[in-house]
């Protein structure tokens, strides 16, 4: 199924518009970008390490994880992606994928051929710059995660990730006030933090007891944003959001 999206329904357009105002031509080009829509269930790979994709995947709803697997089968998640992200945008220029991307929840995605993306980039240099900027921010997130996983205690790591996800979800209108839907299991958090699920569970229980988080099903509520930020040593600069008040 091919479809085009009006600006307000397309999280990629919303995201680009948070950085600069699109001209009519640019908006038209994005709205007319041919996209093959698909619904992918949870725990499915969208692309795998070693693939040579001819298209990239825009996430319209749901959560995905970018990950690699060690020789003895252990998974390290290095990023979570949300609506508006194109987690395999790099495959436009890097022919062989060096990581896998899988769904954590049921995702609605739009596959955009590299041909269509190249054509868009040739016609709209500011959109090319926006895509470049996105991949640079993704690299900044990887750097921050390396610090988080390598040097912070588990309790602070978890606080940092919750801060990051809440700010990113707010930026695309998916978090209201200090609450969001977070369909990430404790096993997936363990794979992101490089610790055991038992350790993740103890940390979450401690955070609940300390009043830092409230969880109900997949709903995460942050009762005291300032305290969580302090515990997670979270400063949103590396996300390079254009409206810093959203991250405050």
């Amino acid at each position: 199924m091919h479809a085009s999206f009006l600006s307000q329904d397309n999280p990629m357009i919303r995201k680009i518009e948070s950085v600069f105002t699109l001209t009519d031509d640019e908006r038209q080009a994005l709205e007319n970008l041919p996209m093959q829509l698909a619904v992918i269930k949870d725990d499915q790979d969208i692309v795998r390490e070693g693939d040579r994709p001819s298209r990239s995947c825009l996430i319209l709803s749901g959560f995905t994880a970018t990950y690699k697997i060690s020789g003895d089968g252990k998974r390290q998640i290095m990023n979570f992606s949300i609506a508006g992200d194109i987690p395999d945008l790099q495959s436009l220029h890097l022919k062989v994928l060096d990581c896998s991307i899988g769904t954590l929840s049921t995702c609605r995605v739009g596959f955009i051929t590299h041909e269509a993306l190249r054509d868009l980039c040739e016609r709209c240099p500011r959109i090319t710059a926006a895509f470049w900027r996105e991949t640079l921010i993704e690299a900044a997130i990887f750097r921050e995660w390396l610090l988080n996983v390598g040097r912070r205690e588990a309790y602070n790591r978890v606080a940092h990730l919750f801060c990051e996800l809440l700010v990113r979800l707010r930026a695309v209108g998916l978090a209201k006030d200090d609450a969001c839907d977070l369909p990430i299991t404790q096993g997936e958090l363990a794979d992101a933090f490089g610790i055991s699920t038992v350790h993740v569970n103890r940390v979450l229980q401690q955070m609940r007891a300390d009043g830092l988080i409230v969880t109900k099903g997949t709903r995460l509520t942050i009762p005291d944003w300032d305290r969580l930020k302090e515990v997670g040593e979270f400063t949103p600069g590396y996300l390079h959001l254009e409206q810093p008040e959203e991250a405050a």
């Binding site: 699920t197 038992v198 350790h199």
Partner: protein, 81 residues
């Protein structure tokens, strides 16, 4: 390989019932904790709280019983790259 066990109280604030595990030379190689019913992921299982020497590393598995824990630790101790 049968490894000597010794009960211990673990101060991890969650699962107090624990077991010290020694090698055949009576050197401490691991600390196991028995996960309480409050644990939301593996209640009732034995958890490798800490490993030393060849039991050390990023893996902190859980085991259905102490025999399985012992088997895993013995394998780690016997491992030669």
């Amino acid at each position: 390989m049968s490894l000597p066990f010794q009960p211990v109280r673990v101060g991890n604030d969650f699962d107090e019932e624990g077991m010290l595990v020694f090698n055949s030379h009576h050197r401490l190689v691991a600390v196991l904790a028995h996960l309480s019913e409050d644990n939301e992921v593996s209640p009732g299982q034995w958890y490798l709280e800490a490993g030393f020497g060849r039991s050390n590393g990023p893996s902190h598995p859980t085991f259905a019983d102490l025999d399985m824990a012992q088997e895993w630790i013995a394998q780690r101790l016997a491992y030669r790259p």
